[in-house]
């Protein structure tokens, strides 16, 4: 028996505890709320479910929009926990669960490809992956970071079912896919192919000697069909809304779609920071992946996700996704590429530790810590600021008093603090942060995102803002809160008058006298009561069922091909020197 810690697998529970030790305090400090782009957005969505579980029509943004345009599961779980610990801590709790699921998902995924020890190293490195830190603390993409590990947990079941026709694996795998899809549709739609295809390829290669390749493919097809039907039913209101109102708005520019080589800041933000020291390992990942036939599917998946993560730096993403290229953001592919490489990185670590021992351990530890620390440091060094930690109490107070909620409002220069205002005020805004839900022509005819950040979208942004201000009376848009003096000339020339100032001039309030009170804006996007009922039951029901299945149906010990997994050193027949004492 190997006694050196450097030659034994690291227990998974220790890795999870390490994840808890690293991310627990950061999340307890509620870091994503002040540093990330999307945390407030997800909390806003959750706050709606906390108050209106079965009514996905939310009137607080865009003069009314349907939350069926975004899978609800993560928001619903936050809403459930919020009744116990409040919205912010509920968000942090769900985010922590997501972060802790990652090493488990990576371990199980890696075990398909490499031995237990390399898999444990892969799981360990997943705690330090820069893309995770980037997505959690900078992007605030909770659904991506929760959906992905659930999807990783489902993949081994997909493999087991396809290879060995284990019915329990089929059931658990499909329900995990439903849960993953209920958390984040984009991960499921665009992550399915680069992850599932390599696993299917592997199942085909590993199939039992008496099993035909066709049987493997047939079982995979059954899995895919059941998952597709399940997702179709569970997210039915989403599909209805997307069919009724396909995303046809003018594309909104996003830096992750640009050619990263043309802008050093974008290159740093979307390439250097998320990958960190992993970049040093990539040449070896390709080399080792290429030199072992069993790792070819994984190498293929890694390369595809790596190229897709480069956004507009190569023509491939545009060719692959077509029109969807202009809707997607590509930072999530960086996470996928990182995780796809981890099994081979685990293998590399195994070889390094065997060869260089403590020196390798120190080097790997430094690399891992550096990879985690770089994006954390970038949070303060980056010129891209989410502006999500503004003190908006005065704005909320203004909107919640003296009947000001009879009118709609607009914020300018508030960045990602807008959802916080929306969460805690009773008034409604014409603006909002979720681009895919926008139906007002003042948004969809222009290539711009939120009006509150209009200036960053140049002429398109300012023209969209002008269009909205020009129709102020139609929408009952009376109050404008300005945090960036850049917007003051337009607002002044358009007929608003400065009426109040907060925070030593940081925030000014402007009002337009002749604006009539807001009235409901008719929309054909309002979900029916049945859709609301489905939305409030099926996604969360599928997740509860998935948890119960995992807890109460034990995994059959499928003859995982440990003899087939890539091992290092290559096993040789050796006579036992000392027999185990029983």
């Amino acid at each position: 028996m190997e006694t050196s810690y450097l030659k034994r697998p690291i227990p998974l529970r220790m890795i999870v505890l390490l994840g808890l030790a690293i991310h627990g305090p950061l999340l307890a400090m509620q870091l994503p709320i002040s540093t990330s782009y999307d945390a407030n957005f997800h909390i806003f969505f959750a706050s709606h479910y906390a108050q209106h579980w079965f009514n996905p029509w939310n009137v607080k943004w865009f003069a009314g929009f349907s939350q069926t345009t975004y899978p609800p599961l993560v928001h619903q779980w936050i809403a459930v926990f919020s009744h116990l610990i409040g919205l912010n801590m509920a968000f942090m709790l769900v985010q922590l669960i997501a972060v802790l699921l990652m090493p488990i998902g990576v371990y199980r995924f890696s075990r398909l490809w490499v031995d237990e020890r390399a898999s444990s190293y892969a799981a360990l490195f997943s705690v330090f992956v820069g893309a995770v830190a980037f997505l959690v603390y900078s992007a605030g993409q909770l659904p991506t970071t929760l959906s992905f590990p659930i999807y990783l947990l489902a993949l081994p079941y997909f493999y087991d079912w396809s290879r060995s026709a284990d019915f329990g694996s089929l059931i658990k795998g499909v329900f995990l896919i439903l849960a993953a899809g209920s958390v984040h549709h984009v991960t499921l739609i665009f992550g399915a192919v680069p992850f599932a295809l390599p696993v299917l390829w592997l199942a085909w290669m590993d199939r039992k000697r008496d099993s035909s390749g066709l049987a493997v493919l047939s079982r995979a097809a059954i899995f895919a069909i059941l998952a597709a039907i399940g997702v179709g039913i569970v997210l039915m209101p989403y599909w209805i809304s997307i069919i009724q109102h396909p995303i046809e708005q003018i594309p909104i520019p996003h830096a992750s779609r640009s050619n990263l080589l043309m802008n050093i800041l974008y290159l740093t933000n979307y390439f250097l920071m998320p990958y960190g020291a992993l970049l040093l390992a990539f040449p070896f990942v390709v080399w080792i992946g290429a030199t072992n036939r069993r790792l070819w599917p994984l190498l293929f998946g890694f390369w595809v996700t790596f190229i897709l993560a480069l956004g507009g730096t190569t023509p491939l993403p545009k060719l692959v996704f077509g029109r969807a290229f202009e809707i997607l953001t590509f930072e999530r592919f960086t996470l996928w590429a990182s995780f796809m490489s981890l099994p081979i990185v685990g293998l590399i670590a195994e070889r390094l530790l065997d060869r260089y021992r403590v020196k390798a351990a120190v080097g790997l530890a430094l690399g891992a810590v550096l990879t985690l620390c770089m994006p954390m440091a970038w949070l303060s060094l980056s010129p891209f600021k989410a502006n999500s930690d503004l003190n908006v109490d005065a704005v909320i107070g203004f909107l919640n008093r003296d009947g000001h909620d009879q009118y709609r409002y607009l914020t300018l220069g508030f960045g990602n603090s807008l959802p916080r205002i929306s969460t805690y005020s009773i008034a409604n805004s014409v603006d909002g942060e979720y681009n895919s839900a926008r139906l007002l022509p003042e948004f969809t005819h222009y290539g711009t995102a939120q009006l509150t950040s209009a200036k960053y979208f140049g002429t398109q942004g300012m023209e969209s803002l002008r269009a909205m201000l020009a129709h102020a009376n139609h929408y009952g848009l009376k109050f404008i809160f300005i945090h960036d003096p850049y917007y003051e000339p337009l607002v002044a020339f358009a007929g608003w008058r400065h009426i109040e100032t907060y925070d030593q001039g940081e925030i000014t309030v402007w009002s337009k006298d002749d604006t009539p009170p807001a009235r409901p804006i008719p929309s054909d996007a309002i979900p029916t009561a049945m859709e609301g009922l489905m939305w409030g039951t099926l996604p969360i029901g599928s997740s509860i069922l998935a948890i119960l299945l995992l807890l109460f149906i034990p995994d059959h010990r499928i003859t995982r091909p440990t003899e087939e997994a890539v091992l290092y050193p290559v096993p040789v027949d050796e006579r036992e020197l000392v027999r185990e004492t029983r």
């Binding site: 043309m262 002429t459 020339f493 007929g495």
Partner: protein, 368 residues
């Protein structure tokens, strides 16, 4: 085979990155940096301006000895809270007007995104051959310096004292000023219906006005509603007249039976200062063969006007308002220093114009 796979992956990756680098203009950018042609020199200088890389842009000038760097930056990025200080150079076009082996003249069309909407300006730039590269000759602009002086401020000012801190703005429990729409003319333009006219403050107190219009169809139902937005001077002193224009994009006159106008006014505190004089007004044809109303603004007060906004109404021989156009001036108005302005006039309107009236609206960034 195994090595070939790794090498193949590497080569395909490099090729894909190379293709995008080429199609994204990487090669053109590299060539531009060499400034081997006059066009590349102008493009390089303007692209450095676009990136706010002022040192690099300034280093591309042929006449650095004559041009102060601060003045160069002020020329392109504005100063004193002018519109250019609220602007980003979004894109530009460059084309040649004249070229020899030693010098050339190129025209740069600069597309700014500003706080009040898009802005386009033209710069004719002389380019000189300097060794292996070309450099831009930047025209020197020297701001006239006024002698120190005292300007007495004796213009009228109206304060409102009955507004409590807890009151909402506009709730003052006093009668609203009397304003009246004195003219309205509905016009069919190629892609819209446009209402133009004038509004007057008939009261003895200042008014803050907004004009809106509702188009009614043949069945009496509302077809569309729009407001004057920024095509009006919202603050009207007693007896002051402002043009207004309301656009209805995509509408046609034959679908409209009548128009319902609505002018809302409320009392505000206001001052007649600063007074801005409009002079040397005339309609001319510009270099692009378009009709333009040109003139000069002179700020007669002692304070800086950050963003002037010029609105002009055009009359036919019967004194009827036949068009209203407006434009923002990208320079600030310093005391006593004339600044030119130009407003586009559609060709079909220009031939019927007999007279025009210009008012100047403004934004001062110390208001807030």
């Amino acid at each position: 085979m195994k090595r070939l796979l790794a090498i193949g992956i590497f080569i395909i990756t490099v090729v894909l990155v190379g293709i995008s680098w080429f199609t994204s203009g990487g090669l053109a950018r590299q060539r531009m940096y060499s400034a081997q042609t006059p066009e590349e020199a102008v493009r390089l200088m303007v692209s450095q301006v676009q990136a706010h890389n002022w040192d690099a842009a300034y280093s591309r000038l042929a006449n650095r000895g004559e041009v102060d760097k601060a003045a160069f930056v002020r020329d392109l990025a504005g100063s004193n809270g002018s519109l250019l200080t609220y602007a980003n150079l979004e894109s530009f076009d460059v084309w040649g007007l004249h070229q020899t082996n030693q010098d050339a003249i190129f025209r740069a069309k600069l597309h700014y995104s500003t706080a009040v909407g898009p802005l386009e300006t033209f710069r004719d730039l002389k380019v000189e051959h300097d060794g292996n590269t070309w450099k831009v000759f930047w025209p020197t602009t020297r701001l006239p310096k006024l002698a120190p002086q005292v300007i007495p401020v004796n213009y009228l000012r109206w304060d409102v004292i009955n507004r409590g801190a807890q009151d909402d703005w506009g709730v003052q429990n006093v009668d609203n000023p009397q304003v009246r729409i004195i003219s309205m003319n509905a016009l069919q333009r190629p892609d819209s219906v446009v209402l133009v006219g004038e509004i007057v403050n008939e009261d003895t107190i200042p008014a803050y006005v907004n004009v809106s219009a509702t188009l009614l169809g043949p069945d009496g139902n509302e077809v569309a509603q729009e407001g004057s937005f920024d095509k009006i001077s919202h603050t009207l002193l007693p007896k002051q007249v402002s043009p207004y224009r309301i656009d209805f994009p995509g509408m046609r006159m034959d679908k409209i039976k009548s128009v319902r106008m609505d002018a809302k006014a409320m009392l505000i505190a206001a001052s007649a200062d600063p007074v801005i004089e409009v002079g040397q007004q005339h309609i001319e044809t510009d270099a692009l063969n378009k009709k333009v109303l040109r003139g000069q603004l002179v700020n007669q007060s002692g304070q800086i006007v950050n963003i002037p906004h010029v609105i002009a109404s055009y009359y036919d021989g019967n004194g009827k308002v036949i068009w209203v156009s407006d434009g923002y001036v990208d320079q600030e108005l310093l005391p006593q220093i004339p600044v030119s302005f130009g407003l586009d006039v559609p060709d079909d309107v220009a031939k019927n114009v007999q007279n025009y009236h210009v008012v100047v609206n403004y934004y001062e960034n110390n208001n807030s």
